[in-house]
Amino acid sequence: MKRVLLYCTLVVCVEVCVTSCSTTATKIPKSVAYKQMYDEKPLTILLMPPINRSINVEAKEYFHSTLNVFLSNCGYYVIPPILSMDVLKKESAYDAEMFLNSSLTKFNDVFGADMVIFTIIDKWKKSTLSSKVQVKIEYIIKSTKTNQVLYARTGDITCDTSVSTGVGGLWGMAANMAFSALKTATTNYIDVAKACNGYTFYTDLPWGKYLPNYQKDLELKSNKKEFKTSITPDILNLYK
């Protein structure tokens, strides 16, 4: 009887943990979640300079320098960011906020882009004591042909940047804390941006033309539209 009770408690705990991470309805197949994207079959994507609404002034660059790697790894052709950045600056179009709700067809004419990605950094908060970086970020991909949103995900992502010194006991604990605090102060925050991009795109962005299994992911489940997740140091290393 005790075992049954324990098992039931465990199941309830797991259910609670899983549901607490999701803020919207149950997962649906990618073919349904991104129907327009599969219909349009876009290939070329233009990165708009990230919109930074957080208090960390450098957060914009962390994302601007990492986004193309992850989108390319998902099988898309990404207009090289250094080139697009210069062209957008010359054309006085560097403020992405101006284009968030306006026509995007000119980006197809100038860059040959099928889609444009907007990134909005709502929060970038680092905690030295707990060695954690909390990021709230929105990824919005829009079609340059129809102006419709093809993909939109909002992530509330906590990255644990702590490290272990390998020393045990009370001294070890103190050493780990001190080392982690030092590391958070000098952490390569580019790795945090990489983890946010990697977790979001690798979990459910439709696979692009240059992936060997292109168009074979239709029945896979999409991620939640708004998700909350914690990334451990081991997972953080995987996205580096």
């Binding site: 290939l43 790894n73 898309y76 052709y77 207009i79 250094i82 080139l83």
Partner: protein, 120 residues
């Protein structure tokens, strides 16, 4: 006897799993130190960051045999060419930009635009 047979079967089933584990999965592309180099370049745009970025491009072009596509990732030839043009290395820069179009024909719209500006 049945026990021995069951153990042998289990071992035989595990052998291919072990063999599979040893196979290293190749990434679609090899990016070397690209993101850090781009970050430093965007942030500083000085000679040091430019040298670091060029070193990253060269490493990426050199190491693609370790990737599953075996092809230089999107945008690398174009960015490298663009940087060479900025350094006044016109012929080398143009050659890189043309390589981008050869590798990724979808890049032609904006790369040919840069080539046209360069001709002037």
């Amino acid at each position: 006897m049945k026990r021995i047979l069951a153990i042998v079967c289990c071992v035989l089933m595990l052998v291919p799993c072990q063999a599979k584990k040893k196979e290293k999965v190749k990434p679609l592309y090899v990016w070397s130190d690209y993101s850090n180099a781009v970050y430093n370049y965007i942030k500083n745009s000085d000679e040091k960051s430019e040298t670091q970025l060029i070193a990253a491009y060269e490493a990426i072009i050199k190491n693609q045999s370790e990737s599953s596509r075996g092809v230089v990732p999107p945008g690398i030839y174009a960015e490298y060419g663009y940087l060479l043009l900025k350094e006044n290395k016109i012929d080398e820069g143009k050659a890189m930009l043309k390589k981008e179009i050869e590798t990724y024909p979808e890049s032609e719209v904006f790369v040919s635009r840069i080539l046209k500006i360069t001709k002037k």
